[in-house]
Amino acid sequence: MEGAADSGRSAADRAAALARLLHRDCTRLLQLYVVHGALTKERESFLSQHAPGSERLVTLALCPEALSTAEQVSHVRSALRRCMELLECLISREVEEMGEELEGEYERLRKTVKDRLGHLVHSTGALLENGEGGCPPSPPLQCIKGQDEVDSFAAKLWTYKVLLELIHWTDSASQTLHLFHTEKHGQQQQQQLL
């Protein structure tokens, strides 16, 4: 039991560390898109002055106000899954629009974020394997591909919002997982004292 507890504690710790790393990656990804993006010669610098609307792309179903830490982890995990869907949609749209021959820093980091986000969703799911449930999962997003339906300017704004969502939810995941790890660690110590 102790070994399992240790592994659980370390898994939460590792997940929190991964969330922190992912948060930094997402922040860097947004910088590349807005300012330093290799995707465009003419950078989307206007986005740096753009104030996004208050509405979020990733919204969760109603949850009880008083959530336990485990429920908060489940809550965040659900949001990360939506973020993952958004990122996959974003990648597929950009690849469809621009092709795959572009291979700059933005494209490489975009792939890295996708891989790490998948790992984070998986690792947070492993933390909740014991039935520590949370909110009901949000409905999956509909990825609208192709530029025929959406004009280019709106697509750029949407990409910007997706990247902001990634930053927001990875930050939230980092904090929640850290709290989760701290609580688990405290419980372990109390059990050892008893």
Partner: protein, 972 residues
């Protein structure tokens, strides 16, 4: 009256109004309404005559109002199509921005009714997107004389109507060519203010079109980036909306070429050409080949396209939103065969000198194709290209390979008939040929003057070794011995010493061995003994670093000649090089590659026959002469009188680096060298520099070759006076000076002889004696005083004190000196010595008289000749003689008071009584005064008894009656 309306092109559309008489250039339908107005002014003037006539006929207001005006906007194309019904064919049109009723078009157009529908139609291209704001149109008929009533306004709503309260920008995602002009409009959200519009991060000047609509016009747009050019509309608070425009170029593709790889299908490729700058899905170039989408190019963004069947003509359409470009190509299939690479290339049989190569084809149709294949062999320093031809070629025999070599083989093939291009190259394949016996060695024997010979052989190249060598076998035999003596040497040895005997020639055979076997032995014969060559060695001049040799053909050279060159003076393991020349040749060039500059070579030509080589000719030379690396040695300078003889020796040969052509002699000054001699004969190795002054000289001697002088050796010499002169100056001159001084002194003394005489030989008056003292004269018998005897002891440490006087017993004294009597009453210092001596006749009388007063002790005794030597000790007191008058010099010695007083009293009494006092001087006549006789003639101080010019005590005493004595005495 027929009338035609047609579009001339897609970019600028014009209407042409046609009449039987005139064809007028009608209005431009683009945005340039001002230009069109000028045309219509002309048209109006031309039509005015007809109008006036029509008015005269029909009257004003009779023209009907056009009916059924309908507006059909094409928003992406920014065109507005108008249709109406009317009997007239000339109309006035007015188009407004509805909200502010700004007129954007006011033109008169001639439009004929469609023959089928009876409708008039006209299209207007708006410079502004039609969504930007509402547009209203009205129309009226016109003829030559009158105009009709305006039709009711027909309006197409824009996106700035209250029902659409959001922000919008138009146009969206438009693709335009580089350099075009565009107008963008921003419809501000209800209750939002407008701040600015930014194009490519640059704020533009906006024009207000309606309550919520603002527009900017950009001109000469540059090419966009990958994701288009952003146009942003902002309020004071945030970004309201925006648009992206893609600015680029039409397709620049060119050079379509189609070929077949499998003799059935086609692959067409082309060059991309200029970058369109249009990369998004909707703007990038799309390709179709003979009407079929080119998926390879459209999806993978490559520049080739395939077709399953060969068609003799090909058409590629490259299309982007700006333009469509058509590329064409046509050819027969057999003319465009581009074979694939051979596969499974293998060497089935590899030998030392050949190999068999096989391969297969991935396309079965190749087996019947008449093809040519090119095989490329790469090896170390060996590369070759070979062509083979055959239908469906799949194997070749590779001849002419070299043993034990790594070959890399590549293969490519093409259609032999109507050759188009080489096919793809096969992957490199490696072949290693087997070994074979080495080739025979090139052997030479170096014969110097010693008894030892050394056989040399040249290392075998890869081409000749045919495998890694194991070693060499050196065999030798002589006529005296049976059989061969063999020695096996490991690889890396390229020479072997041969010991000669004096009786027979020695034949040496050398062979190389590798794992495949032993090479054919190469033999060379050396004579039994070889004396030093009596051939003269001539100088050999190189031309461009090479030696060009020629010699008289020799009838005995049945096997040709051997040219050998080796550094001169080398012994032992020398870098001997040689070349064998056929007998038909009698000249050879030693290339500069095998020669080292600055090294003297001895080049020899031998005739080769069945026996030992015979020396024919010998030279020495440099491939390139250089300045000597070392200066002359043993440079010395020797003075001979005022000349200096410089001599030196040559430096060693290895340092000469060229033939010494002579020497230059320089006189080194402070900052430069002055050439004083150029000796062009190298055998002369000395030089005499004449007429040098007494100074320090530095000479520099340099040897020179044809390349120049060496650094030079330096010698310094101080030229001094000659020895004879030195002797003359050092000895004779002082002697001369001394002689002159003596003469001067003599003259001076002669002229002052009276004074000298007075000073040194004053006249001594004769004693006045009462009675007859004149007879008889004879020796005085002076007997010593019976009281005591003073014995004079000479001692080196003699102190001039009374302690030096030793009392001697009377008996003893008497026994030894019977004839000596010492004044025992006198307490004289020891310096005063008494010698009871019998003197000669000359001065005897004087001494007798003188002694009478000199000692009171002697007065009362017998007559004694007393001589005052006048020699004082350093402690003698001059005051002893200074008591007034003329007194003898005496030393004041602390003595017993009584005798001193006694002596003094007596002395003073005598002086007072007689008025004469003996001189305190030396007695030249005293024969006992040997120590002082040497100072005869020397001037003596009046106050001192020291001789002013002392002479050597070793000189023998001069007789008292010398010329000098006479001189001083005034005698002639």
């Amino acid at each position: 009256m027929p009338c035609q309306y047609r579009r001339k092109d897609t970019k600028t559309s014009r209407c042409e109004f046609c009449s039987p008489d005139l064809v007028y250039s009608a209005f431009p339908v683009s945005g340039s309404s001002l230009v069109s107005m000028q045309g219509w002014v002309t048209l109006a003037l031309l039509l005015s005559l007809g109008v006036k006539r029509s008015l005269g006929q029909n009257g004003v207001g009779e023209l009907p109002v056009p009916r059924g005006l309908t507006l059909n906007p094409d928003l992406p194309a920014q065109t507005l199509s108008l249709t109406w019904q009317s009997d007239s064919s000339l109309f006035d049109l007015e188009i407004f921005h509805t909200e502010l009723m700004n007129v954007v078009l006011n033109e008169t157009v001639a439009v004929k009714a469609d023959a089928v529908t009876g409708l008039h139609s006209w299209t207007w291209h708006s410079p502004l997107p039609l969504e930007c704001t509402s547009h209203s149109v009205r129309i009226r008929a016109r003829n030559q004389q009158s105009v009709g009533q305006w039709s009711p306004l027909q309006t197409i709503p824009g996106s700035d109507i209250p029902e659409k309260s959001e922000s919008y920008m138009f146009p969206q995602d438009k693709v335009v060519p580089v350099g075009s002009n565009m107008t963008f409009c921003c419809i501000v959200k209800e209750k939002e203010d407008f701040k600015d519009m930014i194009y490519r991060r640059q704020e533009m000047s906006a024009t207000r079109l309606s309550r919520r609509t603002y527009a900017i016009t950009v001109t000469n747009q540059p090419a966009s980036g990958n994701t288009g050019t952003n146009v942003i509309c902002s309020s004071q608070r945030s970004t309201l909306t925006g648009a992206v425009v893609f600015v680029g170029y039409p397709p620049g593709d060119e050079g379509l070429v189609c070929e077949t790889r499998d003799l059935a299908s086609a692959e067409c490729s082309w060059k991309k050409g200029r970058d369109t700058h249009l990369r998004t899905k909707r703007s990038r170039t799309k390709y179709t080949l003979n009407g079929r989408d080119c998926l390879e190019a459209n999806e993978r963004k490559t520049w080739w396209c395939s077709s399953k069947v060969w068609e003799e003509s090909w058409s590629l359409l490259a299309r982007n939103p700006l333009e469509t470009v058509q590329l064409t190509d046509s050819a027969q299939l057999t003319d465009r065969v581009h074979l694939l690479a051979p596969v499974n290339v293998t060497a089935v049989e590899v030998k030392a000198w050949s190999a068999t190569l096989r391969w297969s084809w991935s396309v079965a149709a190749y087996k019947k194709l008449e093809m040519v294949c090119q095989l490329q062999l790469f090896a170390h320093e060996l590369s070759s290209t070979r062509n083979y031809s055959s239908p469906g070629l799949s194997s070749v025999e590779l001849e002419g390979l070299w043993p034990d070599l790594d070959y890399t083989v590549t293969l490519r093939c093409g259609s032999k008939h109507s050759f188009w291009k080489w096919g793809d190259e096969s992957a490199p394949y490696r072949i290693h040929t087997k070994m074979d016996r080495p080739d025979a060695l090139d052997v030479w024997i170096w014969m110097d003057s010693s008894n030892t010979r050394r056989v040399f052989w040249k290392p075998l190249s890869l081409r000749k070794s045919h495998g890694a060598l194991i070693g060499y076998e050196v065999s030798q035999n002589s006529a005296e011995e049976d059989g061969w003596t063999r020695v096996f040497l490991p690889p890396g040895n390229f020479s072997y010493p041969i010991i000669l005997n004096n009786s027979s020639d020695i034949t040496v055979a050398v062979a190389a061995r590798n794992p495949a076997g032993l090479s054919q032995p190469s033999t060379v014969t050396t004579p039994a003994y070889r004396a030093d060559s009596q051939l003269s060695v001539s100088e050999l001049l190189a031309i461009n670093g090479s030696f060009h040799l020629s010699w008289q053909p020799n009838a005995n050279a049945s096997s040709g000649y051997a040219v050998e060159w080796v550094p001169t003076g080398c012994s032992g393991l020398c870098p001997v090089d040689w070349k064998k020349v056929p007998e038909s040749d009698s000249s050879f060039s030693v290339n500069s590659d095998s020669l080292v500059a600055g090294v003297r070579y001895t080049v020899s030509v031998y005739s080769l026959s069945t026996g030992a080589p015979t020396l024919l000719q010998r030279w020495q030379g440099y491939s390139q002469e250089m300045v000597p690396s070392q200066s002359v040695s043993d440079l010395s300078a020797n003075q001979t009188g005022s000349d200096v003889l410089l001599s030196w020796k040559d430096t060693a040969m290895e340092h000469q680096r060229g033939f010494i052509r002579g020497y230059t002699v320089y006189l080194a000054n402070a900052a430069h060298l002055d050439l004083i001699a150029n000796i062009s004969d190298p055998e002369v190795q000395s030089y005499r520099v004449k007429g040098l002054s007494l100074s320090l000289f530095k000479f520099v001697v340099k040897a020179y070759t044809s390349a120049g002088e060496d650094a030079g050796s330096t010698v310094a010499i101080k030229v001094e006076m000659d020895t004879a002169i030195m002797l003359f100056i050092g000895i004779l001159v002082p002697l001369g000076i001394m002689f002159c001084c003596l003469i001067l002194v003599s003259i001076c003394c002669y002229k002052k002889r009276e004074w000298v005489k007075k000073a040194f030989y004053p006249e001594i008056p004769g004693p006045k004696v009462s009675g007859d003292w004149s007879s008889p004269r004879g020796p005085l018998d002076v007997k010593p005083s019976p009281h005591s005897v003073v014995h004079i002891v000479e001692s080196p440490g003699w102190d001039f004190t009374k302690e030096g006087l030793f009392p001697v017993p009377e008996e003893e004294e008497e026994s030894e000196n019977d004839n000596i009597e010492v004044d025992t009453d006198s307490d004289e210092p020891a310096l005063l010595r008494y010698y009871n001596q019998v003197v000669g006749d000359g001065s005897h009388s004087n001494h007798v008289s003188d002694s009478s007063g000199s000692s009171t002790a002697s007065v009362g005794s017998t007559q004694t000749e007393i001589t005052y030597a006048g020699i004082q000790s350093p402690t003698s007191s001059q005051g002893a003689c200074g008591g007034g008058g003329y007194r003898p010099q005496m030393q004041s010695v602390a003595a017993p008071a009584e005798p001193q007083i006694e002596f003094g009293d007596d002395f003073q009494d005598d002086a007072l009584n007689t008025g004469y006092k003996p001189q305190c001087s030396w007695q030249m006549d005293s024969p006992e005064a040997e120590n002082f006789s040497g100072s005869l003639g020397s001037p003596t101080s009046v106050t001192s008894s020291q001789f002013l010019i002392p002479e050597s005590s070793e000189e023998k005493p001069q007789p008292s009656n010398t010329w000098f004595h006479n001189f001083l005495s005034g005698k002639s």
